[in-house]
Symmetry: C2
Subunit: 223 residues, 2 copies
Amino acid sequence: MTVEQKTTETEEKILEAALQVFSKKGKDGARMQEIADLAGLNKALLHYYFRSKEGLYDRVFEYMIAKLVKSFGPGLQEAPDFYQMLHIFIDSYIDFIRDNLPVMRLMVTEHLAGGDRLRDRIRSMMETPDSPPRLFLQRMNQAAARGDIRPADPHQTLITLLSCCVFFFLILPTVETFVPAARDNRDAFIEGRKDHVFDLIATSLRPVQEGRPVTWPRHRGKE
Amino acid sequence: MTVEQKTTETEEKILEAALQVFSKKGKDGARMQEIADLAGLNKALLHYYFRSKEGLYDRVFEYMIAKLVKSFGPGLQEAPDFYQMLHIFIDSYIDFIRDNLPVMRLMVTEHLAGGDRLRDRIRSMMETPDSPPRLFLQRMNQAAARGDIRPADPHQTLITLLSCCVFFFLILPTVETFVPAARDNRDAFIEGRKDHVFDLIATSLRPVQEGRPVTWPRHRGKE
DNA sequence: GTCTATATCTCGATAGAC
DNA sequence: GTCTATCGAGATATAGAC
């Protein structure tokens, strides 16, 4: 008797199909029949393996979180400085979402539903010292202390970073209607997105030079 | 016989309730009963006014788009320069979303569903010269030509701008779990978000000074 | 383990009283 | 215009053969 529960090939097929359907339609909107069709199996098997739709959804959620956590490579820790870490963060995060759109979508649907299921997961992630968000905050504070970057709110910057990487994929259908390049060569456009995001954040955070305060032609005025 | 169809008070109540439910659960996931309960009416009335669930959803979608378009104030055109326009864009957009979360959510669920219903709307919006996105692109090109900002891809910058304003509200449940300030004083945190987004983009775009190229301590290297 | 057939129930939609 | 009661389609879930 072993504790680890091996996932059979059939289970895997069901979970993958369910992830896709749940992520687009939400828990209530999804249809068991559609999941079965996509998996190339029949409805009864879904209940054989997962008892109920609710049970299946719970397992799909775990499955999705597992994919997310598994994507945390050791790359971030090994980055020699803040800018290298930022670069790795952006590239690997965008790559992951590009290759796992259903994971991103399920995260979004969960947020739309109120995010109750996510709360504990996020909290425990934020309590893990070497999780990507924690590492980012820590390295940003270090960089500011050293003068590698100008002072800026790390939480706001983290939110911005996530926004820039994730939201783009969510609104891809819209982007494609007004940026021909995104339609014609998606992969190239995604690579361009990486560069833009890094450039934007890195340029904004670069430290203030001697005798040259951070300013712009006309200051944001509420005069 | 008049062309304009006045929306009765009851219709308005139904549309508002339906917008909330559809925006959280999607078209298929939403339940007519839940909408009726939220509106304080009974199911039969929904069918009396809108014939079917599909019909109701269509009307809710129009209702949502109307709210969005109505929020386009004349402020943007009147901004004297790019930075003022950016400032107004961010403030008014964030204010609108804060006050109309269901509109944002319905846009997101539509994107999750593939964005087919949005395509025509977005396209016609992008063909309207004084729509906010068009204005932004135009003013950004002008500013770059004048040297008010450094050269940067306007489309990517627009995507970033939208991302920074919208995504934050989508992941608010998550943000609140790791930023105490967001939970304790939401309004203040939202105001802080405006400042951060403006500061980030404006700082990043400020023009390169004579003899001082845009760079940072260690360049993003792929060595 | 996998399938077909069927039971059970939920939900969209309608009929009809007021 | 608004309600209660109910129908019927379609969904989840189960039974039972293979």
